[in-house]
């Protein structure tokens, strides 16, 4: 009996240990975050946060000539770490160094590049001299105008939504529920507005009013001057997408699979459109049409005034990346790695390009080239007219 029980316990122990160890491997890696930063383009240079936790400046000219990186005007910057070891993984398997990542598209302000950092529980805004980064071991070089908010070892909530720069003030929403207005020149807080819920979306600013949503189902209109609330509304479900603003309407996607049109002045609902999954990416408004990518693998073109569907296009994967429009095309990327070029009036596909890697980052279109930041740590420049990849830049730890 004893030996039987012992052998049985041993078998059980072995099985349990194997399962627990495999779980531990997953558990010890903690919740994985990589980031999916889009691009800020200024004077022929693309700025973006890499999936490996670095910020890059790549010259369009140097990349088109396939010069060795970094070439003239190019650089790579290691993000200063935020948070403390063990906060993600737990005390039993604390990572050696805390990781940081970039989801937010960087914002350019004069010679500064403002980057929102995601560090799991914590975050920070860093302003880098975009002509020649002067940071030294994570400390900004004030003589170059660089700053970090907050300063020292302090941190704010993790940043996912893209910071917006208006009149030398940077507006950024964070996971701690605050919308911060930061002086973009000196890196000092002007004011903070507490929304009471995690913010993973970007603010939109128009006519002195900031529109920002949080995960407590609320959409706020806030004065950009002093952060005072103008109105707020509560939607039936949490808000998944960043708001898009047209003349008099705000469009947001929610976790109950709806795209809502909200009156800008009053905050009243005008219409809602039901999709097959979440409208995660930011809708794009052009004329009287709202183009919205959905995680049900579809792109919808919806009348902005009536909420009626104009057309839909079925992609080969969920659409998490914010689409872009050109004169006559809608450019959409799927998580499956395809770029679709659709006629904006009909939704008919003109051509598609398979990049073979998941795309979550927002697209950028400029001069008939669409720039794509893919999950395989590569940036692609694709000619919209021909569908040809003009150049690609793959970064790794070696670069």
């Amino acid at each position: 009996m004893a030996s039987f029980l012992r052998s049985k316990t041993n078998i059980l122990g072995l099985i349990l240990s194997l399962v627990i160890l495999s779980l531990l491997v997953v558990g010890c890696s903690g919740p994985t975050f990589q980031g999916w930063s889009g691009f800020a383009e200024q004077e022929g240079v693309l700025y973006f946060g890499g999936i490996d936790g670095r910020v890059f400046a790549i010259s369009l000219e140097a990349r088109s000539q396939n010069l060795t990186f970094p070439s003239q005007g190019e650089w790579v910057f290691n993000i200063p770490s935020v948070g403390t070891p063990g906060t993600i993984c737990g005390p039993a398997c604390a990572p050696a160094t805390p990781r940081a990542s970039v989801y937010a598209t960087p914002a350019v302000l004069g010679d500064l590049l403002c980057v929102g950092i995601y560090g799991g529980d914590t975050g920070r805004v860093v302003a880098i001299n975009r002509l020649a980064p002067g940071y030294n071991e994570g400390v900004p070089q004030r003589s170059k105008g660089e700053w970090t908010y907050p300063t020292g070892v302090n941190s704010i909530g993790a940043i996912v939504g893209t910071p917006v720069n208006v009149n030398e003030t940077l507006y950024v929403g964070t996971s701690d529920g605050n919308l911060y207005a930061i002086d973009a020149v000196y890196g000092e807080k002007k004011w903070a507005f507490d929304t009471g819920g995690k913010i993973w979306t970007s603010p939109v600013i128009d006519g002195g009013v900031i529109y920002i949503s949080n995960y407590q189902k609320k959409l706020f209109a806030v004065s950009s001057v002093d952060g005072s609330q103008i109105w707020n509304i509560e939607l039936p479900a949490s808000i998944a997408s960043s708001p898009a603003v047209s003349a008099d309407t705000i469009f947001v996607g929610t976790f109950d699979n709806n795209l809502y049109a909200i009156d800008r002045a009053t905050g009243k609902e005008r219409w809602n459109f039901k999709g097959g999954n979440w409208f995660w990416s930011t809708p794009v408004v052009k004329g009287d049409t709202v183009y919205a990518g959905c995680l049900d693998n579809r792109v919808y073109a919806i009348s902005a005034s009536s909420g009626q569907e104009e057309w839909q296009f079925v992609a080969d994967g969920p659409i998490a990346s914010t689409l872009v429009t050109t004169d006559s095309l809608v450019l959409v990327a799927s998580e499956a790695g395809n770029i679709y070029m659709l006629e904006s009036g009909t939704g008919n596909m003109v051509r598609s390009v398979d990049l073979g890697s998941p795309i979550m980052a927002p697209l950028l279109a400029d001069n008939n080239i669409v720039y794509v930041h893919a999950g395989n740590l590569c940036v692609y420049a694709v000619d919209v007219q021909s569908g040809q990849t003009v150049w690609e830049f793959c970064y790794s730890n070696n670069n």
């Binding site: 012992r6 558990g27 975050f33 999916w36 799991g120």
Partner: protein, 296 residues
């Protein structure tokens, strides 16, 4: 394979948890506790069978020792005789593993569900969208509130409270079912197992999301309660760690079916009969339960 796992295991657990959270006023911690109770209730027949099977095997102890002594030098024959003995007594020696084995996929699914449902990172929230049923209650509940008591359910408990609870309840549960060994070598092995497993799980608790550790604690407590009522007491928990007579089977103070000190003098056939009777009782109870469930 991944799709099958997601469809059959992950998505039902994930969506049940989210729907439960919505029903329970947004408390994800309560949803985990309710799910644990449901899982343990579903496994209740197996757990009872395991407990009773263990009890039945305890009655075979003297006979097993006799066989071990007799065929000490012939391992093959020893195994044959042991299997023969179990067969005659109507006991499946691996039957005790099933409740634990069945729970393993649920652990893994629960771990994945907690990480996804709480959307700890943008990636996990995005991934969650692909595993949700199109129920209105689900969409309105996302994203979930990860706060429960002092815990952030997607993160390990920074205090030692949950680790102690996991380790402690597991130790109690193991102690209740593990008889003290007579052989010093076996005793040290048994002690190692009963101490190491709770210790290991206690350490794991420091690394895993506290939501999963909450499942372990509740599951262990339910296990202890079942063990208490089915076995009729605290089992070997209150027994001395080393039985006084080296050859006698371990006494279990509250387990009346175990034959104490005089066990070696009982006729083997009588013991087999007793074990068989216990096994028959289990089968009978199981059949009656089946009739109750399906016989209408």
């Amino acid at each position: 394979m991944v799709d099958i796992w997601n469809t059959i295991i992950l998505e039902p657990v994930l969506n049940s948890l989210i729907a439960l959270t919505n029903v329970l006023g947004g408390s994800f911690g309560l949803a985990i506790i309710i799910l644990t109770v449901v899982v343990r209730l579903a496994l209740f027949p197996l757990t009872v069978r395991q407990t009773q099977s263990t009890k039945a095997m305890q009655t075979l102890q003297p006979k097993i020792q006799e066989i071990q002594k007799k065929y000490a030098k012939n391992q093959q024959k020893l195994q044959q005789e042991m299997m023969k003995l179990y067969k005659e007594a109507g006991i499946n020696p691996l039957g005790c593993l099933w409740p634990m084995l069945i729970q393993l996929p649920i652990w893994i699914a629960l771990y994945q569900s907690i990480m996804q449902a709480l959307g700890a990172t943008p990636e996990s929230l995005l991934s969650l969208s692909q595993h949700l049923y199109s129920w209105a209650a689900i969409g309105h509940a996302i994203p979930l509130n990860e706060q429960f008591l002092w815990l952030h359910l997607s993160r390990p408990d920074p205090n030692l409270i949950l680790a102690i609870l996991v380790g402690g309840t597991m130790w109690v549960q193991q102690k209740m079912v593990t008889p003290p060994a007579t052989d010093p070598r076996q005793r040290s092995m048994t002690n190692l197992t009963t101490t190491m497993m709770p210790l290991m799980f206690g350490l794991f608790t420091l690394s895993f999301p506290s939501g999963l550790a909450l499942y372990w604690v509740v599951s262990n407590i339910i296990g202890i309660v079942i063990q208490y009522f089915v076995s009729g007491g605290w089992g070997y928990l209150r027994a001395p760690s080393v039985p006084k007579p080296a050859t006698a089977p371990a006494p279990a103070p509250t387990q009346k079916v175990i034959l104490p000190q005089k066990a070696p003098t009982v006729q083997p056939s009588k013991m087999l009969q007793q074990a068989s009777e216990e096994s028959k009782t289990i089968k009978k109870a199981s059949e009656e339960k089946k009739k109750g469930l399906f016989g209408r």
